[in-house]
Symmetry: D2
């Protein structure tokens, strides 16, 4: 199962060839993770104050398979895999039945005012794995 959101490519996302600028796709990927965290009840904007945790990004890798244009409707899927003290988000963006970009973010669970990783709390783990 996956979390899915729909993104319509906007005029202001597009370049002189009419296709989406790469940095705009990265914005949308980040927004998708934000929507996912809100959906499971652990929004980024509450992680710190409510849970004394952060989930900073440690790496990302993305492949761009196709080009998308203003008005294109793109379904972006996110799947979360939870490790001991880390979380992996896998993304697939689909337009007209084709994967147009896909990739992975690795995040680590850290306490506030701390450097190293800590175990992902059980309730966060359950929430992440529920979708």
């Amino acid at each position: 199962m996956s979390f899915t959101r729909t993104w319509t490519v906007r005029f202001s996302d597009t370049d002189p060839f009419g296709i989406a600028h790469y940095p705009r796709m990265i914005d949308v990927i980040h927004e998708t993770s934000d929507m996912f965290m809100e959906e499971i009840g652990w929004p980024y904007w509450e992680l710190h104050e409510e849970h004394e945790l952060g989930l900073p990004l440690v790496s990302m890798d993305f492949d761009f398979h196709g080009q998308i244009e203003g008005g294109d409707v793109v379904e972006i899927e996110l799947d979360a895999t939870v490790g001991e003290s880390s979380v992996q988000f896998d993304y697939r963006a689909i337009h007209d039945g084709e994967v147009v970009f896909s990739g992975t973010e690795h995040r680590v669970c850290v306490p506030i005012n701390g450097d190293g990783g800590v175990s992902v709390p059980d309730d966060l783990r359950d929430a992440l794995e529920s979708v």
Copy 2:
């Protein structure tokens, strides 16, 4: 009557005080006009090729009345007023019953490869005034 869309302020929109950065609000205003034009059947990404027209911005003025935070749900209303060769978009953004920002964009209707304004075509006028 108005066109309305809902915007949730995202973590990546917020500043060190937890409130939305001003440039992010401007992005969202622009995105709102894009969604409106799509809704009435004249999306920005078709104006040029389908209609040989552009609607460049000539001025904008905005007032910021209140601060919004990550997770805040904001309703943004857009009303269009059509002049002879110009279009005015009025925006109001409402959160928790309060106007948090509002303002106006003035746009002019220009032919492709032309400098001066032209009359807003009747079908575009009808579409703009239909909402």
Copy 3:
């Protein structure tokens, strides 16, 4: 006298007609005020902690006179005018001897944890008027 910075329009700022997207110009205006505040020794990122002050935006109005393209070199001037508890930033962006956009931001000086405006401190006033 004015503070001036140079902005080169980047490919990733440009739209399907090869001209700069409006929201990108607003980003650059905001970045210009940030560079100005750093130049006078009161960077935004120190206002809160070092000075217990904020300078939130209350209104902005901008006119777009001309179009700029990828690679265009634009000089952006900023002049500050200081009121009792407010600051006005006037911007002029010049390319090839022509003003391509211009406008004004009004900001108010507020204490942290406070709502109303306070007098602009003398040392901030001197710094703002020094350029």
Copy 4:
């Protein structure tokens, strides 16, 4: 040898913890490649019209090693490696003597109106390898 540009993290790049938002770092990476291409005389905004070529991104992978704050001055280095019909850009961002993020973009050389890759022209190859 490398191309290097300096980036100052701006207030509007920073998040509720005062550190740079990830999407803003990606914007800056993209801007760095744009500045590099301009430096070697092959700016992105001329590739299409002057050279009938494009250099679309096919993949990117980045690691984030440290956090940077508003006002931090970051040196971003770019090294280009040229393949038969592809180009690899390697980035290293350094603040206070530490690598704060690094990564690689893979781009392919394509003709306009064409799908597959073509050989990187000799003069572009020479320019890319000159830095």
